[in-house]
Symmetry: C2
Subunit: 411 residues, 2 copies
């Protein structure tokens, strides 16, 4: 029997096509959730779903589904594929879109082959995975999995003062389905790695067995503004200096430990932010990740202890706000093995790995057996126009997805 | 003979009056150079000069002079008193204004006493001492002393995109006199300390014998933006972390040294400033001050060496831009002794000290024997609505100024 394969030209063509939709006047790709550009991307995706003859459904948080089912399998739960098509500001064309369009590609390939699935097969584009305009990220899949009430999510006020619910209505994607209306038989998300590991190790396929737990905190340090020239070093309560101590503490601790823990301070601001004034306030974010929940908790505890010690030593006041917290996710062992098996049969080397990024799969894993397939990201670059994966790797990943879906929907 | 004293009610009344001029809708005192609020403050000062019967002169950079001279002394160089009346954002009422209004007060007191000065006596309000809207600070006195061509100063583009020259014309303070037109016989600036030393030591008068050298630099560190979750700690080029290392380096070095060196990082920004992205760029300012030029140069050299080492260790690119550099200033020994002597004769304890802040006096010292008198700042607070000096200290300082001016203009 001839091995079935996806239509590479169709998949790559759509990926490039979608990557041209939602460019700003500087040519930057910006499809923030609920925006006019997001609508343009959604419209293109829905047109492709319709042209494939799939049923289109949109739920209240704006998640879009393309469903292939027939009278014989409609009572079975669907094998769900998907990811997201919203982007960050100045994005690359692969993040999210590759998983969504590959899901559609797999369905069309199976349709054309005459394959009769025992389960429906559906492709989903989840709303606001990036979380740039509305927090938290992975919102559409979180709501879908029952982790956040839909009313609360719709009421989210964005960085530009808009409300997600009103924006979804405005762009015509406030649907009627109740989030969670399709309970998946299984969920598989194909995604670029967004990290350097697969490329460095020469592996075309990552069988993602788990996903790091994520702890996001915002730390505010209050000291005292004073004149930079007249205040002796010994009499300062310098919030900026205290913030810098936290950055170096986190870095030194993470480098010293022989663990996969990563710690990042990505946002930082000083007040009054004047060259000749000792900062009265410093505000910064801490992003801690670890695939082990116990270790993630230990890192959080170590930071809290350090902040307490620092507040006393520097005579500053420190407050911490939790912005997001997700426990590590273990994906479904059977699906991970199916991924490895599918890669092996196509002669593709694969590597079990941990996802360092958050993905919709971590939310859907709450309600269905789930796993992810990674393909290499050149230099690990993502959230950047230089994000790139070679065509051959994109095609290979979609073919592995095809084989896994075939196995799962034939059971 | 009865000791002459200034009119405390008149001085304090004007100080409070001027402190109400230029409040924004939140009640904050904001008289940025060249603004409508600056014009309102200038108009009040000029009205007081006129009511004292003084000659008013305005030079091309907008410095305002009130000159008391007569036919007998007009060929002699004037004893100049002064400071500035522009403010920072959300300022206190004393910084600068106290010196200007005390200068006027001294002249009016001497006029009323029948004193006949051998030299003219003049009071100056220098333009844009604070440098908040237009850089550099102390601009009016710098231009006056010949340290910056007036055309260049007038062409300065402000933080709001305006040009200082156009703004001075708009508010009616683009004068005709050539900066430097009055060559001072001596210059004395009375000012609040803006530091905690006098209050802490219970000293009402500071005889300021020198002024710290100032080195302002902007440092830009370029690393690589990457995903906070997928990039192992060992593979990061984190510009934010490198910036934090510089902050802790400067602090540790200044604390370890048993010198008056102060080092401050007041401004800090990260790019892209996103919680889950390793900073690709960090930009921050370094403010180094020391009363000894050799030591200040050594501190600059130590920073430069550290940045070089850091760039190699963290695989980041570091560039440095010099924003301002003033050598330490030694004030005139004779005037400093006159200040100490005047304080002693009034029964006021005084302390020789270094100015940690920059002042117009450091510029005028280039063209005339100069010195400063400090009065205590409660808790050292300045550039803040809580800036405060008790009335008794304000009056004592103005009386010491009166005595010094009497001695200088009787010679």
């Amino acid at each position: 029997m001839k091995t079935l394969s996806i239509d590479a030209d169709r998949l790559l063509g759509r990926l490039r096509n979608l990557g041209q939709i939602g460019r700003d006047s500087d040519g930057r790709l910006v499809r923030l959730a609920g925006s006019d550009n997001d609508k343009a991307g959604r419209d293109a995706f829905v047109a492709w779903i319709r042209s494939a003859g799939l049923e289109v459904a949109v739920d209240r948080i704006g998640n879009i589904f393309g469903i292939w089912r027939d009278d014989a399998n409609t009572n079975h739960t669907p094998v769900l594929l998907g990811s997201h098509i919203d982007t960050v500001i100045n994005a690359g064309i692969y993040d999210g879109c590759y998983g969504v369009l590959s899901g559609l590609e797999v369905i069309e390939t199976l349709q054309a082959s005459g394959f009769v699935p025992a389960n429906p097969i559906a492709v989903a584009a989840f709303t606001n995975e990036e979380g740039v305009r509305y927090a938290p990220d992975m919102m559409g899949s979180l709501v879908y999995a029952g982790g956040l009430p839909v009313e609360e999510a719709l009421a989210t006020v964005g960085t530009d003062g808009t409300t997600l619910g009103a924006e979804l209505e405005r762009i015509g994607y406030a649907g009627f389905e109740k989030p969670g209306f399709l309970k998946p038989h299984a969920y598989i998300e194909l995604h670029i790695e967004q990290g350097p590991v697969l490329e460095r190790e020469g592996m075309p396929i990552g069988a993602v067995e788990n996903l790091q737990g994520i702890s996001w905190q915002r730390v505010t340090i209050e000291g005292e503004a004073n004149h930079a020239g007249t205040t002796p070093m010994s009499m300062r309560r310098d919030a900026g200096h205290a913030a810098a101590r936290v950055v170096t503490f986190l870095r030194d601790r993470a480098r010293r430990a022989n663990t996969p823990t990563v710690a990042t301070v990505g946002c930082m601001s000083f007040e009054p932010n004047a060259i000749n004034v000792i900062p009265s306030r410093a505000t910064f974010t801490v992003d801690l990740r670890d695939p082990d929940e116990g270790r993630l908790q230990a890192e959080e505890a170590a930071l809290a202890a350090y902040l307490k010690e620092l507040a006393a030593a520097e005579e500053v006041t420190i407050s911490v706000e939790r912005l997001a917290r997700f426990q590590p996710v273990a994906f479904d062992k059977n699906i991970v093995e199916l991924i490895e098996d599918a890669a092996r049969k196509r002669g593709l080397a694969s590597k079990r790995m941990t996802s360092g990024a958050g993905h919709d799969a971590q939310m859907i894993a709450r309600i269905a057996p789930s796993a992810m397939i990674f393909v290499p990201s050149i230099s690990g670059i993502s959230h950047n126009p230089r994000e790139h994966t070679p065509d051959a790797d994109l095609v290979a990943g979609a073919n592995v997805l095809l084989d896994v879906v075939t196995r799962l929907s034939a059971q």
